[in-house]
Homo-oligomer: 192 residues x 2
């Protein structure tokens, strides 16, 4: 709509500040006053860019959610197993990041209560998942998986325990755990 650099600048500052507040204090911490104090952007300016404070929160979630996807770039000359280990480990590290420890439960609660975010959540999950399924498909082609394996279920068996430990039990996510998970999914009896 507006290409005025001032508008773009202040809008970006609001979104960034709101995202920081979301990560630090959860959804309840993202108030207009808090964003004003944190960013220096005026109250009236915020309401000029966003109809309601809920839209600010939504923009903050939009700015934060994509970071979930652990970017596992394509393999080099590494084995499919190593690709999987690297990919799962990346997810584990992301889950262990301080910001996410606090933000993940808050985001889950927010998404559960805000149907408008449901589509976005589904898209993130799908991207995350298809990426992992592709790696699993390569592993299957290499004979590392039993024929006829449900790759979607296998993906859940890989990352499910990670989220479970992070969210429910609070146990640490070690690299050894990631390797054990990958190996528990691959066909037994294959050396490294």
């Amino acid at each position: 709509m507006s290409s005025d650099p001032r508008a773009l600048r202040s809008r970006a500052a609001v979104v960034r500040g709101a995202a920081e507040l979301l990560l630090a204090d959860g959804p309840g911490g993202v108030t207009v006053d808090a964003v004003v104090q944190r960013t220096g952007v005026a109250r009236s300016t915020i309401y000029r860019h966003f109809p309601t404070s809920t839209d600010v929160l939504r923009a903050a979630v939009d700015a934060v959610l994509p970071e979930v996807a652990p970017g596992g770039p394509a393999a080099a000359g590494e084995s499919p197993r190593d690709v999987l280990v690297r990919r799962v480990t990346a997810t584990a590290e992301q889950l262990a990041t301080g910001a996410w420890v606090r933000a993940l439960p808050a985001l889950l609660e927010l998404v559960a209560r805000e149907p408008a975010l449901e589509a976005h959540r589904a898209e993130i999950v799908a991207r995350h998942r298809t990426d992992l399924v592709e790696h699993l498909s390569a592993a299957a082609d290499a004979g590392l998986l039993p024929v006829g394996t449900d790759l979607g279920l296998t993906a859940d068996r890989l990352v499910g325990p990670l989220f479970y430990r992070r969210l429910i039990t609070g146990e640490p996510l070690t690299p050894e755990l990631c390797e054990q998970l990958v190996d528990s999914v691959l066909t037994p009896g294959d050396p490294r």
Copy 2:
């Protein structure tokens, strides 16, 4: 302290109403006013029983949390595998219950933000887990698990994907899924 039935009655009503509000609207919905309106108990009475509104919320969580533990009674003449399937299926059904769909993210966020609840959370998880580990131990004794298997990790591999699907992807938890999970954990090549 007080054995006056009036006091016990109104206190119980407050806790029950607060628990209902917690399940219905999340932690943010548990306000003193809301409890007053829902239960008919007077504002002054609530503050006579609880120092702050946070204590009301805590009591509500205490009243709700124990229901998490899926009661898998001891086996009859069924095989260790069937015990595991029944146990995992019970967990899946509990996760699929309407109330928990809404309450679980809220509870997680609450526990993450309220260190006082951490101990309680750990106790619930431990009870849940030792129960499952016992079943797994029986399965290991029956030769259904490779020797030297980490039973704790195995427990995570069993229920982790359930929680992951419920919380993150939102996919349904079918009985078939539970069976597949159990079989994926047991040593391959064993008939029912």
